[in-house]
């Protein structure tokens, strides 16, 4: 699946991907930008919450948990 474009919530745990596009708009998009989720930013899926959602991602040195709704609006290229 290398090189294919998928929503971040489908990125398997332990894998890394590069952000290619944000499909959200308005406030949510701004929040994602604040976290540094811009084009070509590398994101790694670390672990899933015991309750099933959210998933913790490694983003620019920080660990950020995103719910599947938010993550589904971030398209990444699996690397």
């Amino acid at each position: 699946m290398n090189g294919s474009l998928i929503p971040l919530n489908f990125l398997p745990l332990g894998r890394k991907g590069k952000v290619k596009e944000l499909t959200s708009d308005g406030n949510l998009r701004r929040r994602m930008l604040d976290l540094g989720l811009i084009r070509d930013t590398e994101v790694e899926a670390l672990q899933v919450s015991p309750s099933g959602d959210p998933v913790a991602y490694f983003i620019r040195g920080a660990v950020i948990a995103l719910r599947s709704e938010e993550a589904s609006k971030i398209m990444v290229e699996v690397s």
Binding site: L28, R31, L35, L46, P54, G61, V63, I64
Partner: protein, 716 residues
Amino acid sequence: MGLTSDSTGISVLEKEFNIKRITPNDKVIALAGNPNVGKSTIFNSLTGLNQHTGNWPGKTVANAQGTVRHKNENYILVDIPGTYSLMANSVEEEIARDFICFGEPDAVIVVADATLLERNLNLVLQTLEITNKVVVCVNLIDEAKRKKININIKKLSKLLGVPVVATSASKGEGLNELLDAVSIVTDGYIKPSPVKIKYVDAIESAVSILEPYIKQHLNDKLNSRWVALKLLDGDSTLLEAINRYLGFNLFKDEDITQKLDEAINILCDAGITKDILRDKIVCSLYAVAEEITSQTVSFEREKYDYLDRKIDRILASKTFGIPIMLALLGAILWITITGANYPSQLLADGLFWIEDRLSDFFYSISAPEWVHGVLVMGVYRTLAWVVSVMLPPMAIFFPLFTLLEDLGYLPRVAFNLDNFFKKACCHGKQALTMCMGLGCNAAGIIGCRIIDSPRERLIAILTNNFVPCNGRFPTLIAIITMFFAGSVLGPAKSVIQALMLVSVLVLGVVITLLVSKILSKTLLKGLPSSFALELPPYRKPQVGRIIVRSIFDRTLFVLGRAVMVAAPAGLIIWFMANVQVGGVSILNHCANFLNPFAQLIGMDGFILMAFILGFPANEIVVPIIIMSYMATGSMIELDSLEQLRELLVSNGWTWLTAVCVMLFSLMHFPCGTTCLTIRKETQSLEWTIAAFLIPTITGILICFIVANTARLLGLA
């Protein structure tokens, strides 16, 4: 120019931001930074006890100010809200931006996390776009060293064009140098020349069309290039702020509106819509941040956060995450219960010894019996009870809880439980506010400020009372011990007590989720808002600081408040129990009146009356029940819980009564202080009433169902 003397300078500071200089020469310093970078540690270390906290005028966002003296200068430090950016996406960001723009600080310290420099530079660069007078403080430098992250501070300072100081605030390192750098900037010894962010050509030409016209109006009050960018970005909050603080509406100027249209057309021709413009701005900021980081930061170890990840894989793992959380909670409660026993007894003995001396004193001066009754048997005894019952568990619970907070465990709780909150259509951070409620519900209500969405914040406020606070623990523990763990002996006893208390807490969480869900579907309809929760690195806790903070800021604060309400409550209770109407005390009249209803929900009139009289402080519920049964007219001290149990049983208590009292203790109206806090935080009487009624009605319904089911089944 529309700028009156009244709307500028110190008067704006005082009127709009509530900042008071002690002498006109005092320098005002804003303290900015991302959340979790140790900003408040820096603030506390610098200002010590010379600080006062309040709210930003008209906002429910905390505002802390303090003074620090350095080399014969007074600095007023203003702790502005911790934010990721200054783009006014939230109230906090708006306040932070407004203070930097219009508060006319003499300098801005931007605190950055050394272990997360790249993302933190985003905020630094945004601040540099607004003002030159910036000092960057790279905090947590010790953490970075431990993780083998090297930062070239000199080069960083050169690239950013402003002074940069490395600190590790928790050890007090680098703080003097920080103040030196601040004084250099405020005294104008050096002229900082911050790095300029270059945007793509279309944006640059759009800005260059607009900027000269803005410059004419703003007169160097604000960076016109930055204002031009914000206008292109369609930031209406900045326009309003300029209007408010500088008394000028930029859009009244036809030149500006015309040039703005022209500039927006240029952007459109280049295919840059509003969303794309924002992307491009952020991308350029990050490009600069990446460039600077790559030149100044080096990692000796590829996996510098290896340990954090390993701990997270255990503490937030699918199998162990929730059991570990419950075990930790159980352990804390167990330590609290066991540890509080002995000091509680000691305190009670001491305080009641003093009471005897007080009585002796009143008799020796032949004071009237009622004076002795009111002051000693009413006010003093209630106070003594509250102090001896509350102080030991708080003095143990709060430091333990602060320890978990300092370690960085609480965000993991939110992470572990978020899906349940999502299903209830509320915010995962509500788990954090519930943790705070465990200490004190009023504190939990204030903590709800961390939730951005007003709808979700309101849900968190309305349901916070379903988490039993420290004031209700003693009631629950006493009943558990008497009715459910009494036959168990030895160390197993306290384990059973802790386990049962954990079950009560879990029930509270389940009810919270259910009521939140119901609220989301009815009164507060809506979908969950965006959610991004940072899981900060685990940090080594500062034991000394934990003890000081939890004892002074929390324990004594909560105790002081309880004492303030307990004293007058003791007075009222004494009167109600001692003033007789038709041969029966007022307390009995009220209890008799309430009794039929109370029986319906598994209790009796005295118990219900005790809950009502306990409105000022939950701690006094059990004492009032005992006092009513004894009919001595004042709270008594019983030597053992066994005696107390006998007293209760002889007054008709069964296991069902005990269960219903516990349920009602978990689910009834918030205490007086909490109600006042809710009123303050929601700015609405209606929501305060709702916060009063929702848990009360829930409690009554559940007690009714439990009591009558048990009776129908012949169990009690």
